[in-house]
Amino acid sequence: MNATESKNAFSYEDTLSFENAIGFENKYLYEQDPAFSPEMNRKKAIEVKDLNLWYGGNQALKKIYLDIPKNKIFSLIGPSGCGKSTFLRTMNRMNDMISNCRIEGKVCVDGENIYGKGIDVTGLRKRVGMVFQKANPFPMSIYENIAYGPKIHGVSKKEIPGIVEESLRCAALWDEVKDRLKEPALSLSGGQQQRLCIARTLAVKPEVILFDEPCSALDPISTGKIEELMAELKKDYTIVIVTHNMHQAARISDCAAFFLSGELIETGKTAQIFENPQDKRTEGYITGRFG
């Protein structure tokens, strides 16, 4: 499936009614702010219904309902061990790699339940890309790192140099590395490596990009660059980010969800979560009383 095509497959004149398109669980998100106009949010990128997850006998996610709108930055916040990273990883089925992990419920990407029967997991991961906490470039050249994804998905050799340049440009790394594409990726600085990983993800043309604390190992300047980049990327992609940094969540995200002990406590647009939280526990965490 061509990812770009599917992204443009719906039009703003879509006949689907707004009320049907968004879940009732976080409907107020769209009703209270004109910035979230119905046109912008006619489609949800990801829809999570009654999601439960266990590591062995320990339930790590409890009855999660959440809709993630397209072309927005959605941040997942909460104290360590609250399940936000686990939740992020349910969206591209990275939890499959953990042997004692059991999942019930639905996660729909573009309307399709990714835990349904006959789902092609590698195809899913192409559509839902992921950037990790610690930059993990492959031990090969800068060029090969970006070309890796397109190559395994069978993109023709002629197109690859173009994709590499485009991806590096999108990740705001092109000017810094264009003369040293053959050098090992591990020779880049930490911040550059993380942008390389973002470029690598962009190269397979996903619809959604999951960021798992992408800046926690970076200095403030590199962090600023990544944040700028995300703001740029949301024009074309849906972004979900897990962050420990409250200021970062407030700065960059459009919507936020607060997790505590495996439960989704509250979700809404970021300004509302931070300025006028509805739940005492959210308020406690935001104001720094715990977490």
Partner: protein, 297 residues
């Protein structure tokens, strides 16, 4: 003696103990080294260096006596190459299976099996080869004798496998999980991840494993001597199906019956020195490969 000076004394005592240990090791090495090369030097007093290095005949009993290195080198090379060709792919595939594909229980059983097979004494393997392999090779290829380079290669491959498997398996297992996850997150399947990310990241350890395996094959004496026929001739095109004699087997076979101080006696030390140089060379190559491709951690 005060408490303080007692402590100093113990400190110095321990230090000198370690120093003696370190120097002792070095001394033993230097002695062997000096001995080996002194005896070789004696050999070249009476035998021409180039005649030795390029000689195609090893005939200690003949007159004049011939001490050509090439047939022995050819024998060692034949059994080593013959062992490495099957052992390397099988070893690496097994290592990948154990570290990436097998379930935890299967992996444990396989690891245990590899450890066990590393512990089989070489003479036992040689005996096994003599009884079971030699007659079969003889009948399958319709030869006058089943004691061939091929037979030696098979036994050596079995001996080199545990080394290759366990060292490669270590290297593959120590590739960081983050790399694997990064590859999966891009939508690659397990096979692509193994082939394009994990194996290249582990290449330094895997090369070390292969070189260690070669080292094992080059230095092995007993098992090879028991199954290769020990004919000191340069094999022709049928190299794997002819009897060969390795450098190590030559020393083991002839050292018992040689008179001390004769040219033949010195010749045996000289080929010992050659073996020593080869082994050092292999270790140096292993180090260079390790330096060139750093293990990714």
């Amino acid at each position: 003696m005060t408490k303080h000076s007692l402590r100093d004394f113990r400190e110095n005592f321990m230090k000198s103990l370690f120093l003696i240990g370190g120097i002792g090791t070095l001394l033993i090495l230097l002695l062997i080294f000096a001995f080996l090369f002194a005896e070789s030097f004696n050999f070249f007093k009476t035998y021409d260096f180039w005649d030795f290095l390029t000689g195609t005949e090893w005939k200690p009993g003949a007159s004049p006596e011939m001490f050509g290195l090439l047939p022995l080198l050819a024998g060692t090379a034949a059994v080593t190459v013959g062992a490495i060709i099957p052992a390397v792919p099988v070893g690496i595939l097994s290592a990948v299976y154990i570290s990436e594909l097998a379930g935890p229980k299967t992996a444990d059983i396989l690891k245990f099996a590899v450890e066990l097979s590393a512990g089989i004494p070489s003479v036992v393997l040689g005996f096994f080869g003599m009884i079971h392999l030699v007659p079969r090779i003889q009948s399958v290829f319709d030869l006058t004798t089943g004691q061939t380079a091929l037979t030696g290669s098979i036994i050596l491959a079995i001996m080199a496998l545990p080394t290759i498997i366990s060292v490669s398996e270590d290297a593959i297992s120590s590739v960081p999980a983050a790399l694997k996850q990064g590859s999966f997150a891009l939508g690659s399947n397990h096979w692509q991840t193994i082939y394009k990310v994990i194996l290249p990241a582990a290449v330094s350890g895997i090369s070390a494993a292969v070189i260690l395996g070669i080292g094992r094959a080059v230095g092995e004496t007993m098992a090879v001597m028991m199954v290769t026929g020990n004919m000191a001739i340069i094999p022709g095109s049928d190299i794997f199906l002819s009897s060969v004699r390795t450098v190590t087997a030559t020393i083991a076979l002839e050292m018992g019956e040689v008179a001390k101080g004769t040219e033949h006696y010195y010749a045996l030390f000289t080929i010992g020195a050659v073996l020593f140089v080869i082994t050092i060379g292999i270790n140096k190559i292993a180090e260079a490969v390790k330096r060139k491709h750093k293990q990714v951690t």
